[in-house]
Amino acid sequence: ISTTTASAKGGCIKMLLEFKLQGLPVFEANLKGADQYAKTFNICKPTYGGPASASATGQVSDIQAAIAAHVKVIAMTSDDPQVPATALQSAMKAGIKVVTFDSDVPSARNFFIQDTAYNTIAAGVLKAAVKFAGSSSTIGIMSSTPDATIQLAWIGAMESYAKTNYPQLNGGNFGQIIGYGQSVTATSLTAAESMIHSNPTIKAIIPIDGAAVVGTAEAVSDLSDSGKIGVFGIGDPAPNATYYANGSMQGLFLWNEIGQGALIDCVSELAVENKIKAGTTFTCPGVNWKSLNAPGKWTVAKAASKTTGATKNTIIFSGPLEFTPSNYKQYNF
């Protein structure tokens, strides 16, 4: 209690860093980055939030507590594009800056840090899978639920990329083989198993959420199909070291989560000091992760773009990073 008050007077910027839920490795990496760079951007050691179980209502309680605690900025990745909107709007009314990252709340934020351009990551992962399986093979997708916004966007981007570049995939209808694991490893495992059984010709699977990646890799090792069926997904490498090692994991794509944490700090500070607005370009001292265009340089989007998925006031963090069996050991998130 007393520490919060003291630090408020100490001049650093009080920030709530709110995740979808505790314990997801990607967010842990974000947090690591944010903590590491807090000093650089004059952020008080981030107030770490996130509901104990994935629920948008839990996030709202956290936001309410933060408003009452008079934070200066809320950085959050939202469980739902709508639910926290009311709470965030009242936060903005109270003069608090809102920076969303990873998943957006379009109607109630100042800036949104988009992980990567949807088209580039979709193309990256699909290209790798096709290279392994062949351009007229059968490739499945493992997602969490049909209403996961970003995953839907990725799938859409993959579909349109496949339509123009690999018209022969899945007999011309890429995107028809989708399994859902509901963000539960055990369920993903079952779903992946049954996908493999129902599609005997399947050559590669693209899991695009954390539980699906583990579940799919486990299923592939389980059926002694390691190496026969390729797994190319979107996810972080460290949790899947075992599967890289036993040959059931061929490639994962993501962005640099630690760097994203640093960018969150940077944007938060700039937002609080009103130093950025739509259409401008900014730099972050000490942060040199490769952005989409140039290292250490980011642009605040002025208008929406269909291909990248960006909307107004969106900052795209970076292009995709590929983790292969030969380089996965270099990243520990």
Binding site: E28, S53, T190, S198, S221
Partner: protein
Amino acid sequence: MLVVVTLAIFGLTSAAQPHFALQGNISFLLASAMPLAVVAVGETVVMLVRGIDLSVAPVLGIAAVSTGFIAQDSHVSVLSMLPLALAIGIGLGFVNGLFVTYARIPPIIATLGTFTVYGGIEQLICNSRTVVTLPTSWINLGTHDFLPDVPYILVPGVLVTIAMALILWRTRWGRSIYAFGANAEAAFRAGIRVKAIEISAYTVCGMLAGLAGLIYVVQVGSAGYNTGSEISIQLQAIACGLIGGTTLTGGKGGVVGSFFAAIFLTVALEGVIVAGIAYQWQSAGVGVLLLVAILIDAYQNRQGRSVSEALRSVLGGHKPVQQEASS
């Protein structure tokens, strides 16, 4: 009877989707039913003493993440983690027993309380981490068969079920469990240590949930802050007990039925997926299955005989001996 239905579902599904009966899949189905089967065996013991234990889910989770983290960090063998898993289960189950027996909180509420508290503990243990990079030996144990279609994972499940069935039938402790469930007051008057028996039932249930946690982490290869609760394994286990012929009113039923019910439930759920039913309706599928299970339970209670007996009498065309007596 359950075996028949299970085989029927299996047969129908494989007729529609031939690959369903592939060798690997049978083995996979058996293996993925084991965590549930072991939990269900424990839950059955509690149901036999007229109890209910909702906290098995986080108990399983705690055991899974604790053993998983240790294995992940120090690459110990699965067997060396067994005592830890059991100890966790025993401890947490014992606490449940204390609340039910000494604090006299109704089981459903007491274990609802411990469900939340244990769930919190599971999260604290995870402390924002997830068990993922298990040693290869663990993954192999979870994924390999020692005979065609007989996965290693099946072994502990079968052993536990046989052992519990024998214990319940052939030991004084087992008979005391039934006596307590049939009529706690009479058991007390007959000189049975009712409190010890009731606590021991919850302890055994916890112990098996702990064991199931270890099996789970070996089989799935991963565990996290809400392992167990996320698939409502406690409810599935209760459903298994009911489908397997154990009643909620205590003193009746047994663990073998629950074991097969767990396999049945797993095959049925997998069948639902393979049959191409939209994932949205899977939870409705579980709901309907549960309704069927309780209707069976109600039927058994009212008729004083099990559905399988009834079916046998219908199919076999002769009246069961018990019929005139039980009307």
